[in-house]
Amino acid sequence: MDPDVELACHELLLRLSGRLPDNLVWRFRDWLGEGAASTLARVLPKTLLKHRVDLDQAEYRLMVAGLIPHGADWHQVSSTLGVDAPSESGYTFTASTPNWVNSVDSAAAVIDATLRRRPEVGEVRDAWRQERGSGPEGAKRILLVTAVSGLPRLTGELQRVLRVLGDEAPCVEVLPTRFELPAYHSEALANSRFVCAGAAGAGQQLVPA
């Protein structure tokens, strides 16, 4: 797959975090990570329309660049371009691990063991997301990772790890080093905690020390 096309798909899926249901987002990212972009191209535009998720112009350009080459339907793609200002995220984030999480955080330990000093990986952080107005009992881990290559595949790999560890719809955000962070990710990073660091981009910290 053309790296630019793949990266466009990946960035589009990043921007859909918190806007599509988690169970769809992780699945679509898995498909991309496994190279099933043509399947994604046929399904994603229609899914956005069904869930009434409009794209802004930048996202629309990503969709055109990433999915049209793989056979996405022009009519559907065109219909996804919205004109209204993006609505505010319905989530808040916190770095504090909820009380209900076992004091032994197996997921963080496994992520550390997997990604520490890994060549293409930069910094790894996590945050806990909860819906506005709801309590911490529904908090969900958001894993934030910077990487310099193989982002879709790394996403799929980490998703599989977290699923086996019990998170059936994992939220794994593997961010390119040059990426204009959406509000969702900015807020998550601002309320995140350090997990581990790979070997890539030692000076590129997601959150200034």
């Binding site: 498909w31 099933a36 046929r42 229609k46 086996v164």
Partner: protein, 422 residues
């Protein structure tokens, strides 16, 4: 592109099968091969009539996971994609293999795979029509390319022809989810046959609930008005023992008002443990064998006919299943499953339930025992088609054990001279 107009090779070629059921049956065939999340989500989409989404989720997951499918499955999926106005060309990307080796899965009934399920499904079992049985088992092996956590609880539901498999699968899964029980639900029955995966799971599964012979229709149960008097004993398929009452009927049960909701009073069934509080009385008729786990034997304090009436044994409802468990240790609480560790009172319950045919004489007449001490053990009827082979085996074992206990009891009493007056 895959020929979407040819025969799929599936038996019956789906004459009369609607697209939802065809889609559901494809998913059924993929159980153990596709990840459980995809199966559950696709089934919910089918039940909610989002057929295109279900077909695309299924095909997309198969493609991305490079999960092999048979040529007949590929054709069927291509047809379904077309019939749901999706893109049938997606099926061209499937990994097609003529001969797919059966996935080896390991199942286990250890560690209570049925814990909480009876309670969680209490209402579902009373509302949905034509449910036949519910079993639960742990699957210790991963499924699909993106498996979830292990072990995976599998809940197997057998249904009759009046039940709609996708609807049952969704409702059962939804009830379990709301109760905080993670499980994948496999519904099989008429028109949706089991695969070797389901057979393997069922052979290791723990029976949670079995319908009585006359409970094929839940609507017939619902149609009966709630009664203030204790409901009647229910028996399960064939001669599944359903002890009617362990003690003289507690008065509160008789005097309590009818259930406020259109609960199937006639479905009130037996549970070997004493009935629980009012809030649980809705579940009369179809009790989990774990419905009272961890609780003390409360004195019944509500209506709903939780305790069956003594000699009246009209069969209406499904019932709790009380089968011996291989991991019976540390099960000294008031569970109903311990036939090998039963108290005298529990044995009396089982005897009374089995002794439903009043026309048969007592086999142990020489021992002048009271009715509470002995009950006849009727012949087993193992021809009921609702019974799985495993259920029959367990029934035989249970029956044999009861008979042995009767003989031992009679022998003991004879030797003590306590019951002999002639």
């Amino acid at each position: 592109m895959v020929d979407v107009h040819g025969s799929t090779g599936f038996s019956g070629d789906h004459d009369g099968f609607g697209v939802p059921l065809r889609l559901y049956n494809v998913l059924l065939g993929l159980a153990g091969r596709l990840d459980d999340s995809a199966l559950s989500e696709a089934r919910e989409l089918v039940a909610r009539s989002h057929l295109d989404d279900a077909a695309e989720l299924t095909v997309g997951s198969l493609i991305a996971g490079r999960i092999p499918v048979r040529p007949s499955e590929q054709r069927e999926l291509a047809q379904l994609l077309e019939m749901t106005r999706s893109e049938p060309a997606l099926a061209d990307q499937l990994t097609v293999v003529d001969d797919i080796a059966a996935a080896e899965h390991r199942f286990s009934r250890e560690n209570e795979p049925d814990a909480g399920i009876g309670e969680a499904l209490d209402r579902v079992l009373r509302v949905l029509p034509d449910l036949r049985s519910v079993h639960a088992v742990w699957r210790n092996t991963p499924a699909g390319s993106v498996p979830g956590p292990l072990p995976q609880r599998v809940v197997l539901v057998d249904i009759g022809p009046e039940a709609h498999p996708p609807a049952v699968a969704f409702r059962v899964a939804d009830a379990l989810r709301k109760a905080g029980i993670a499980a994948v639900v496999e519904v099989t029955g008429a028109g949706s046959e089991r695969t070797s995966y389901h057979e393997g799971a069922l052979s290791s599964g723990v029976p949670v609930w079995l319908a009585g012979p006359d409970t094929a229709r839940a609507d017939s149960v619902r149609a009966e008005p709630a009664r203030s008097e204790p409901a009647r004993t229910h028996v399960g398929p064939a001669s599944v023992p359903a002890p009617p009452e362990p003690e003289p009927e507690p008065e509160p049960v008789r005097s309590a008002p009818p259930a406020p909701e259109p609960a199937p009073a006639s479905s009130s069934s037996w549970t070997a443990e004493p009935p629980r509080s009012t809030s649980r009385s809705r579940g009369e008729g179809r009790r989990s064998r774990h419905s009272g786990r961890g609780q003390d034997a409360d004195v019944p304090e509500s209506s709903g006919g939780q305790l069956p009436a003594g000699g009246d044994q009209a069969e209406q409802g499904g019932q709790v299943v009380a089968f011996p468990q291989p991991s019976a240790e540390a099960e000294e609480d008031n569970r109903s499953a311990q036939t090998t560790e039963m108290s005298r009172e529990e044995v009396a319950q089982l005897r009374a339930a089995i002794a439903q045919d009043k026309d048969k004489g007592m086999a142990l007449a020489s021992a002048d025992l009271s009715a509470d001490d002995l009950a006849q053990i009727p012949d087993l009827n193992l021809d009921d088609p609702q019974l799985a082979d495993r259920d029959r085996k367990l029934l035989r074992e249970l029956h044999a054990e009861l008979a042995q206990r009767e003989r031992a009891e009679a022998e003991r009493l004879r030797s003590n001279g306590t019951g002999s007056n002639g």
